[in-house]
């Protein structure tokens, strides 16, 4: 419902797969513009709209300390117009063509996407590239949009669950960008200037840090010809590559009293291999599904269905470049919190001792596989998946995750991934009503 959301706590898990046994999957067509920018196209002839998705390695992890919140603030400012387009003109034109647009900033990257009827895709592409590559960053607009970003920050601070997650990441990932808020610190936001934002844009929106993904009915689009004359093909290469520090997670625990909290939360975070290891990402998806997806998953069955200690329990793999984060959230009555934590620890300890049964592995494989196939139906989710992969230099076929899925069995999970979920490796945060 919100326009231009920034990611809730973390960027959406960028790609786990799923599947149905039969029908062949469409294959991405990969090309490069003359300056090396990757272009990935995926033809979905039955889709009613095309998704154009521009990706850039300019998430909050690319900020210096003084730039706190700049990546996300820039995402907002991009929509305030370019040298060619006055503020608001992009939205008006795209929406008059029957389309819609949005953007999201994560720790690692940012993307801007447009969903548009196929006949208008060419025009929308030209508008999108103009907007993203040549933002105007006008001073008055900048001051106004800062208010909007501060409102966004205030809105998230009024959700105690968001506050608890932010604190979890701050404590679990000290000295790392993943421990800092994507929205930025209030003081930094108030100090930002358009010139500093222009410098940030200039540094990161470069040929070797961007890509474009397009999914939908593509028959008449002839993209490469259009793009070779565009500003995207003129983009220069970055002068210095920035390197992302690997994530090391601090184990430990804390208790936080929060005003306005109605139910207690148990939050836990673990570090998993980074997104470059896609095979491990698929394994991580299997493991979290086995543990917490559906009534027959171990955690849900034990804590919600049998012991009835929690309203809900979730375990999500957040796919990130410097190291994935597995995050657990259990929602319960405050007086049950201790019992919930004890049970979670016990259940994980048992998992470390005995490898998963083939039946639960197969259930998890089916859920993960089908989820992946289902996600390939919508142009927006397909474009996001192939766009994110191309941005980080991963060029596997759409079938590959389904094949990796088949190579995971209980024994491999026990050897390679389950040890990473040991309770003593986690950072644990208990949030209770103040």
């Amino acid at each position: 419902m919100q326009a231009r959301p920034s990611p809730n706590r973390l960027p959406p898990s960028s790609g786990l797969p799923h599947a149905l046994s039969s029908s062949p999957l469409p294959q991405p067509q990969r090309e490069r513009l003359r300056n090396g920018v990757p272009l990935v196209q995926l033809d979905l002839p039955e889709a009613p709209v095309v998704c154009l998705d521009f990706w850039c390695r300019a998430g909050s992890a690319s900020e210096t300390a003084a730039e706190s919140g700049m990546a996300h603030f820039l995402e907002h400012m991009v929509f305030k117009g370019s040298s060619q387009l006055p503020a608001g003109e992009f939205d008006r034109r795209v929406e008059a063509l029957g389309g819609s647009s949005n953007a999201a900033t994560g720790f690692d990257d940012v993307h801007f996407h447009v969903l548009i009827p196929p006949e208008a895709a060419g025009e929308a592409l030209a508008l999108l590239l103009d907007l993203v590559l040549e933002p105007r960053l006008n001073g008055d607009d900048f001051a106004m949009e800062r208010q909007v970003v501060l409102e966004e920050l205030a809105q998230s601070e009024d959700q105690p669950e968001e506050v608890a997650f932010q604190e979890l990441l701050r404590r679990a990932c000290p000295n790392h960008a993943y421990g800092l808020p994507i929205l930025g610190r209030r003081g930094s936001l108030e100090a930002h200037r358009p010139e500093a934002m222009a410098a940030f844009h200039h540094r990161h929106y470069r040929a070797d840090r961007c890509c474009l993904a397009v999914a939908g009915p593509l028959q008449h689009l002839d993209l490469i010809r259009r793009l070779d004359d565009s500003a995207l093909a003129d983009l220069a290469t970055a002068t210095a590559a920035d390197t992302l520090a690997p994530l090391s997670l601090s184990s430990g625990d804390t208790t936080l009293e929060l005003p306005r909290l109605e139910a207690a939360r148990l939050l836990m975070a673990w570090r998993f291999p980074g997104a470059a290891d896609q095979d491990a990402v698929v394994g991580g998806d299997l493991l979290t599904t086995l543990l917490a997806e559906g009534r027959r998953s171990r955690l849900v069955e034990r804590l919600r269905e049998q012991l009835r200690l929690v309203e809900s329990i979730d375990l999500d793999l957040n796919v990130l470049e410097a190291g994935c984060l597995v995050l657990l959230e259990a929602v319960c009555e405050p007086d049950q919190l201790e019992a919930v934590e004890q049970e979670v620890r016990q259940l994980l300890a048992t998992l470390l001792d005995t490898r998963p049964q083939e039946a639960e592995m197969e259930r998890a494989r089916r859920l993960v596989g089908n989820g992946y196939r289902f996600s390939l139906e919508a142009p927006g989710s397909v474009a996001a998946m192939v766009g994110n992969s191309a941005l980080w230099g991963r060029e596997h076929s759409l079938d590959a995750p389904l094949q990796w899925l088949q190579h995971w069995n209980g024994e491999r999970l026990s050897q390679e991934l389950i040890p990473l979920l040991a309770p003593e490796r986690a950072f644990t945060l208990r949030a209770v009503p103040a």
Binding site: S23, A96, R295, R304, R363, E377, A378
Partner: protein, 429 residues
């Protein structure tokens, strides 16, 4: 490019619509049953959703665990939820698993177990959810406005139920409700790659015996019951949440289309009037928009906004002025054209997946409207002019209520602005 539509009927009378869609071997099935939370009896509000929640906790030959094993073991999704006007059962699965899973839909409806222990669990989870929702100031403001607009009427409570009344709901009440599922109207929609012989599969759980039901017809849904006014709740938040709204008209009614275009104009996309006027030009909010769900009865039409406490007065005045503007000033031709383009665009955007296709068709048919309702609406909308929209606004949006949630000082400031604004009317405040 649009999927081939086929109309059939299940033995016993349930309309069955098939949307054949080439492509991935995915199947989405939706069974819409007339009667949701608006049919909850006083003293047992929450019964429709409680029943929906336990339908998947045992049915036909399957215990709750066995059912979960079957569904999750096939990597499928099965949900059942009550909304205000209906109860919707949704299945999404690989087409290859249709033979295994399609029989479940009617088994849930015709032979639910309704085990006491599972009812208690579902009830406890619902109570916890209602409690947790109070953490969200938008939820508080929304609940308060709903009560102002619909009082104790059928649309007056959260479909999840009322905390004091949920404990009063007994198994016998749910049994009675389950016996009536679909008797007031139902429709089944399948979309995607659909296997042959689906009628047999759908009835396979009962050895092919017909399911006696009927199609949904047009009927009057619940009315708005409140009077215009101001409601506030104090909460120790940074922002003030404002919701301004009133009750309007049912989906498919003569004025509903004009309202839908006003919705597009005001709240759809980043070029929408509220987004531009409140956010882009004044920086008063991050989240601003219009809530106007499709309903069988008098649907709410609500502006929503959250703004820092220190700007409570400005935000309130700006929001009220936008509403007043609708009553006083017709849209320009260019504004109406943009609204029409968004209306068409929303239709295309809402048809991306098999589930979306099935969902939209089930909603329309469940409301007793024709299958080509969306296409007809697009044609009719193109014939409306700015005066039609203004006339609808004047008739239906004349006296909104304001709901506020936030810190005391912000409430005082906003209330002051409301009292001095023409929309609060001569008798209010």
């Amino acid at each position: 490019m649009s999927p081939a539509l086929e109309q059939r009927q299940l033995p016993g009378g349930c309309p069955l619509w098939l949307l054949h869609r080439p492509g991935p071997a995915i199947l989405s099935a939706k069974l819409w049953l007339h009667g949701g939370s608006s049919a909850d009896l006083p003293g047992r509000r929450g019964a429709a959703q409680l029943l929906a929640g336990v339908l998947s906790r045992g049915c036909g030959p399957y215990s709750g665990e066995a059912l979960a094993d079957l569904v999750e073991g096939s990597g499928a999704g099965l949900r059942c939820e009550a909304s205000e006007d209906g109860t919707l059962i949704s299945l999404k699965c690989a087409s290859d698993d249709a033979a295994l899973l399609l029989p479940l839909l009617l088994q849930m409806v015709r032979s639910p177990w309704l085990v006491d222990d599972q009812i208690d669990l579902e009830r406890q989870l619902t109570l916890q959810t209602l409690q947790r929702q109070r953490e969200d100031p938008f939820q508080l403001s929304h609940d308060q406005l709903r009560h102002q607009l619909y009082r104790e009427g059928p649309y007056g409570h959260d479909p999840l139920g009322v905390e004091d009344e949920l404990p009063e709901i007994q198994r016998s009440h749910l049994q009675e409700l389950a016996g009536g599922l679909g008797q007031q109207g139902s429709v089944m929609v399948l979309a995607g790659l659909i296997p042959d012989g689906v009628e047999e599969l759908l009835l396979a759980g009962h050895n092919g015996s017909p399911w006696a039901t009927r199609a949904s017809d047009r009927r009057q849904g619940p009315r708005g019951e409140g009077s215009a006014g101001l409601v506030s709740c104090q909460d120790d938040t940074e922002q003030l949440v404002l919701m301004l709204g009133c009750t309007t008209a049912p989906l498919g009614s003569p004025e509903a289309l004009a309202l839908r275009l006003l919705h597009c104009h005001l709240g759809v996309g980043m070029s929408s009037r509220l987004f531009v006027a409140l956010r882009e030009e004044n920086g008063l909010a991050y989240d601003v928009g219009v809530h106007h769900p499709a309903r069988l009865g008098d649907a709410p039409f609500v502006f929503h906004l959250s703004s820092s406490s220190e700007r409570a007065g400005d935000a309130t005045a700006a929001l009220l002025d936008e509403w007043q503007r609708l009553l006083e000033q017709p849209l320009s031709r260019a504004e109406l054209d943009l609204a029409l383009a968004k209306f068409r665009g929303q239709e295309a955007l809402g048809r991306q997946t098999s589930s979306q296709l099935a969902d939209r068709l089930a909603l329309v048919l469940g409301h007793g409207l024709p299958a080509d309702f969306a296409d007809r609406s697009l044609e009719q909308a193109a014939r409306l002019d700015p005066d039609d929209l203004q006339a609808a606004a004047r008739r239906l949006l004349g006296r909104p209520s304001l709901s506020l949630c936030g810190p005391a000082a912000a409430l005082r400031e906003a209330e002051q602005v409301w009292r001095e604004h023409p929309l609060s009317g001569p008798t209010t405040g």
